[in-house]
């Protein structure tokens, strides 16, 4: 048996290819080369061995005692004893068991690990209006290179994602909606090379980039439209054309549909002698999404940007993608009104021009295209949808169905649309989202955007810190529009030849960087929009130095959000609402701490009795973070937490009875992805 085993050993060794000789070789430098012919190795090596043994006989052949360095004859006399054999066997099996246990532990941990937060969940998004962020070439317009210059600033905000709104080659001066070429950067923002550099720089900083995508329509200067109006080949049906009559310069449209900006959404084209449909301006003809060729074109454009390394899209105006083929008239809000006078968009119910059957299928199709680019590890492509002015129910449709993936989230504008603040309306905005959101989905909170008035101007600048605290302590992804972190306000645009609607420009003023001219936005003597006059006090440079500034507070919040599991993926329980204040808790199983967030959105200062809202609170709770720098590190009385107008506090409560286990908070608690934390192993697990 043993001899056979050996034979196999030596034969095996000789047969091995490349690496044989890395095996353990004892005496390479044996002087006498004793070539081992194929035959000799098959012989039992016994004689050889015997000779070797006699040569290397131990110095004390008769010794009965073991000694260090003993040869095998002596060794075998003792090593078979139970006191050596048993531990030897034991140790060997211990190693085997240890390997099994380690592998089992690995498999178990992997199996019970909850799905980890993807990059779009892990940190805040920072939305940039590129024309107003930073001008690098002194033409008074912000550009992509400018954004790249300011990436260091963006990293100090601890945000994860940069969101750049539309920068496509566009004919409209507002640069937002009328795209002439989806695969070109508008010259005002730079070149494609600038964009590629920006993508690389953003990724180098560990950030992600999402961009706007506007599938619904193009500019009337777009090649497709030019080819479509001349009925050229496949482009004939790229847009929505219908016969209509024109008499004496007055068009009689096919139906009563209205454009978002008022008046008929049909426009007569002199070249094609037909009407085309436009949901927005007449310079923005709607693409015909019922045409598969158009869908393919759009997908190709998506692939173009995904291949450039873009990490996701914000799909704009998707509810307008499809319109009813029947062209039925939409119903008037006020039935008694004469149909001729109905010109305002709000005077119709838009049952046949928005959210048509099949629209979600198109978006899910987009999702599939994006998934093809999401396979590489860490390269998930994010999909967000703009669903402004939609009901909460319709908004939630964009989250998809349990088995059909759609948007990662529709952007949540409900906080950005609040024009007055109170405990109740903030509470409603939160609960309506959290209660309607499908289970397991991920919320998000937006305080502003290019199309809404700046927070300071809308609500008052004493609420800047409280609103930032709100979005960073609610569950989900906080989204910040540029300038909101320093509390920039609206500008008054009185005369501008730049846009169709001066109101939409109010929140697009140049970013306020420092005290220098044009707030450090541009070195030219002209900027496309005037700088807000408050830029001497409200700017990045000043706030960087000032410990109690909005910017510092924003950084503290984003740091806390990144470092505390409670905030990034913990439970969220709403406490009873109050007409002035909003109070809620964040906690996680396995962490014996609860964050209690209280925010006063009322008009005046108040005392909030937390003990009424939550049982088992100690009288005094320490403040973890406060909008008022003075109260940092202090303690507050839970029987009456003093809150100034617009003040917010994060209180830290050490307890092991977490609110979401309590009956009192049933139906008041939410979690997107249930996970528990094990402090001993520093890992999350889902079995709890």
């Amino acid at each position: 048996m043993a001899a056979e085993q050996r034979k196999r050993d030596s034969v095996g060794m000789r047969m091995e290819g490349c690496r044989t000789n890395n095996g353990f070789v004892l005496n390479e430098d044996i002087a006498e080369p004793d070539p081992c012919e194929p035959g000799s190795s098959r012989d039992p090596p016994q004689p050889n061995a015997a000779a070797a043994v006699s040569v290397a006989a131990s110095p004390e052949p008769g010794a009965q005692e073991p000694y260090a360095g003993m040869p095998k004859e002596v060794l075998f006399r003792f090593s078979g004893r139970a006191r050596y054999r048993v531990p030897r066997e034991l140790l060997f099996w211990l190693v085997v068991v240890a390997v099994c246990l380690l592998v089992a532990a690995t498999v178990t941990i992997i199996a019970v690990s909850p799905k980890c937060l993807d990059w779009w969940q892990a940190g805040a998004m920072y939305q940039i209006y590129p024309r107003s962020f930073k001008d690098s070439d002194k033409d008074g317009n912000g550009d992509l290179k400018g954004i790249q210059e300011k990436l260091d600033y963006i990293t100090t905000l601890n945000v994860k994602t940069v969101w750049i709104t539309s920068f496509y080659k566009s004919s409209l001066k507002d640069f937002r909606y009328a795209v002439e070429d989806f695969q070109e950067v508008d010259p005002i923002f730079g070149t494609m090379k600038d964009f590629e550099d920006l993508v690389a720089a953003i990724h180098d900083k560990g950030l992600k980039l999402i961009i706007d995508f506007i599938p619904n329509h193009t500019s009337d200067k777009h090649t497709w439209f030019q080819l479509s109006r001349t009925r050229t080949g496949k482009y004939t049906d790229y847009y929505i054309w219908h016969n209509c009559t024109q008499e004496n310069g007055i068009t009689i449209p096919p139906n009563n549909w209205l454009s978002v900006y008022g008046n008929s959404s049909w426009h007569f084209d002199e070249v094609r002698k037909q009407c085309y449909f436009h949901q927005f301006l007449k310079e923005q003809p709607d693409l015909n999404f019922r045409n598969p060729a158009v869908q393919e074109e759009i997908k190709e454009i998506m692939q173009f940007w995904l291949a450039k390394g873009v990490d996701g899209f914000s799909f704009d105006a998707v509810k307008f993608l499809l319109e009813a083929e029947s062209l039925r008239n939409e119903i008037q809000v006020n039935q008694s009104q004469s149909p001729d006078t109905v010109t305002n968009y709000s005077q119709l119910y838009h049952d046949f021009t928005t959210t048509q059957v099949g629209m979600h299928d198109i978006i899910r199709d987009f999702r599939q295209t994006m998934n093809q680019y999401s396979r590489e590890p860490g390269r998930y492509r994010f999909m967000g949808t703009e669903a402004s002015a939609e009901s909460i129910g319709r908004t939630m449709m964009y989250y998809g169905l349990p088995f059909i993936q759609e948007a990662d989230f529709p952007f949540n504008h409900f906080l950005a649309m609040l024009n007055t603040l109170s405990g109740n309306n903030v509470y409603d905005a939160i609960t309506s989202w959290m209660e309607n959101m499908p289970e397991g989905k991920w919320p998000n909170w937006k305080t502003g955007g290019p199309d809404t008035s700046r927070l300071t101007s809308r609500l008052g600048n004493q609420y800047v810190n409280a609103m930032n605290m709100l979005i960073f302590t609610l569950p989900g992804t906080p989204i910040t529009y540029y300038g909101e972190e320093i509390g920039m306000g609206n500008i008054l645009v009185t005369n501008s030849n730049e846009s169709y609607n001066t109101n939409t420009l109010a929140s697009k003023s140049p970013m306020q960087w420092d005290n220098s001219s044009n707030a450090g936005f541009s070195e030219s003597n002209y900027t496309w929009l005037p700088t807000n006059s408050d830029y001497h006090t409200v700017n990045v440079n000043v706030q960087k130095m000032e410990p109690s500034s909005a910017l510092k507070f924003y950084q503290d919040l984003s740091k806390l959000h990144a470092s505390e599991l409670l905030l990034s993926r913990g439970w969220f329980c709403l406490l009873r609402n109050d007409s002035h204040a909003v109070a809620y808790t964040r906690q996680m199983d396995g962490i014996d701490r609860v964050f209690i967030v209280v925010l006063n959105f009322g008009e005046s200062s108040m005392l909030l009795n937390l003990q009424d809202m939550m049982a088992g609170l100690p009288t005094w709770l320490p403040v973890r973070l406060s909008t008022n720098p003075a109260s940092k590190g202090s303690k507050v009385d839970t029987r009456g937490v003093p809150l100034e107008r617009g003040e917010g506090l994060i209180l830290e409560h050490n307890t092991d009875t977490l609110p979401h286990h309590q009956a009192a908070f049933r139906n008041k608690c939410f979690v997107s992805n249930r996970a528990c934390y094990s402090g001993a192993l520093d890992l999350l697990y889902s079995l709890c």
């Binding site: 001899a3 004892l26 040569v55 090593s79 690995t106 180098d204 390394g309 396979r375």
Partner: protein, 467 residues
């Protein structure tokens, strides 16, 4: 039972010796197989990103390949002149005496080798676990559990049977070569379809930085393999440029589907490549990369086991480390020691920094080895040198090594380098206490320990002292 004896070891040793006369082709195969590490699949971490034109880049490439070849040739001379195992140890011993040799084995046995073993196993583990954590880093616990399991399995396998160990090695080396060939071929196919964009070429030097150390590093163990081969210089001269060509071709393959920035930002370049080119069979790449990583870890078991064994034999470590398993004919104590130390290195938070700082120590010893070659040209003229390289070559590589030792210290001075030096020198304390003076009380402790360990592991001293 008792019929299993050490005679076999001798027999098989002779066979192995006989077998070292590998043909030119297998010699080249060994060189290519061992030099290409898993780095080319994973990430060009040690990269300084600056764009340059294709021309200068290729020149730097060629220069690196040449330098590496020269370094390997120096080792060829040393290896054929002093035919003893144990890495640089016997060369340093021969050239400078026991103290530098002792410090070398001290540093490499306690820090460099086990920590790199641990690192390789950790990266294997991270690689495997990452597949299950799509969007975030796997928790440390998981990575460490699997890495520890890998270390235990590898050391056990190698301690149980040389044959099994080398079998494992062959399989994984083959896996590595397969994936290299897959990547190169698919790159060529893509290239034929005209996918390569000229501007991407400039980044070929990405890999250069990691190429040169890797080449020399591994030439050590290659030389063990093809020792005494008349084909050795030829194998080196063909093999190493071939590796360089492989590297360039793999880079070209990567550049056919990735921009330079994507390449730099990819967590695992080969996986990205697989995702884009081989889909839906893209799972092949991570699987094979994991194989090649574990193969690399297994390879260190081979070479380091020997190093520890030699140090033990010379009395520079506990004697018991040089003993051989009676039944299994493996250097079991050395391997177990290696495994234990490596497992200890897994436990603390981050050992990457440790390895980084000690890489300068590696270069220090390389430099000393090359210097030793020069010194022995004058002190040991009598030794037979089957291969004798022109004296310019060792001078050149010595200067390069000195540069590589000093460059990181001068460009980024850090206290850690001083700690490394102190650690290396602290070996002297042990040297004088236990090796030089051999205090009686040290013997009193080590003797019973050795005895009991011997009986526990069933190991005995090697029969014939090679010296």
């Amino acid at each position: 039972q008792s019929s299993k004896d050490l005679g076999l070891l001798e027999t098989s040793t002779n066979c192995i010796l006989l077998h070292t006369q590998v043909g030119l082709l297998s010699g080249i195969c060994i060189i290519v197989g061992t030099i290409i590490g898993s780095g080319i699949f994973i990430s060009p971490k040690p990269v300084l990103a600056n764009t340059e034109a294709v021309g200068p880049c290729l020149i730097i490439w060629a220069a690196c390949g040449i330098l590496a070849t020269l370094g390997a040739l120096c080792f060829a001379e040393l290896g054929t002149m002093i035919t003893k195992s144990g890495g640089e140890y016997p060369y340093l011993m021969e050239a400078f005496g026991p103290i530098p040799a002792y410090l070398f084995s001290w540093t490499s046995l306690i820090v460099m080798k086990p920590s790199s073993f641990a690192i390789i196993c950790l990266s294997f583990s991270e690689y495997v676990c990452a597949a299950f954590y799509a969007s975030c880093k796997p928790p440390h616990v998981v990575v460490k559990c699997l890495a520890a399991a890998a270390i235990l399995v590898l050391t056990t396998v190698n301690a149980l049977s040389v044959r099994l160990g080398s079998y494992v090695q062959n399989v994984f080396t083959a896996a590595k070569l397969v994936i290299v060939v897959i990547i190169i071929i698919s790159g060529i196919v893509l290239l034929a379809q005209g996918e390569l964009r000229q501007e991407r070429m400039g980044w070929g030097k990405v890999w250069m930085v990691s190429l040169w150390p890797r080449l020399t590093w591994n030439s050590l163990c290659i030389l063990r393999v093809v020792l005494n081969s008349r084909n050795l210089p030829l194998a080196i001269i063909i093999g190493i440029p071939l590796v360089t060509v492989c590297y360039i071709l793999m880079n070209v393959s990567y550049f056919t589907v990735m921009t330079p920035t994507e390449l730099l930002q990819s967590q695992a370049v080969a996986v990205t490549f697989g995702d884009r080119v081989l889909y839906p069979a893209s799972w092949v790449v991570p699987l094979f990369v994991a194989f090649s990583t574990i193969g690399a870890a297994n390879g260190t078991c081979f070479t380091t086991g020997r190093l520890i064994y030699v140090a033990g034999r010379e009395g520079h470590m506990l004697k018991v480390l040089s003993y051989i398993s009676v039944k299994r004919l493996t250097p079991a104590p050395a391997l177990i020691f290696y495994g234990i130390i490596a497992t200890i290195y897994i436990i603390p938070g981050d050992i990457n920094s440790l390895v980084n700082y000690f890489s300068f120590a590696a270069w220090l010893f390389y430099g000393m080895t090359f210097l030793g070659l020069l010194v022995m040209r004058f002190t040991r003229k009598d030794l037979e040198r089957p291969i004798m390289v022109p004296i310019v070559i060792p001078i050149l590589v010595t200067v390069t090594s000195v540069f590589l030792v000093l460059a990181p210290i001068i460009s980024e001075p850090a206290w850690e380098y001083l700690y490394c030096v102190l650690f290396i020198l602290s070996g002297l304390i042990f040297y004088f206490l236990f090796v030089y003076y051999k205090f009686g009380w040290a013997q009193k402790i080590s003797k019973p320990v050795t005895m009991h360990l011997q009986m526990l592991m069933e190991v005995v001293p090697p029969e014939k002292d090679p010296e």
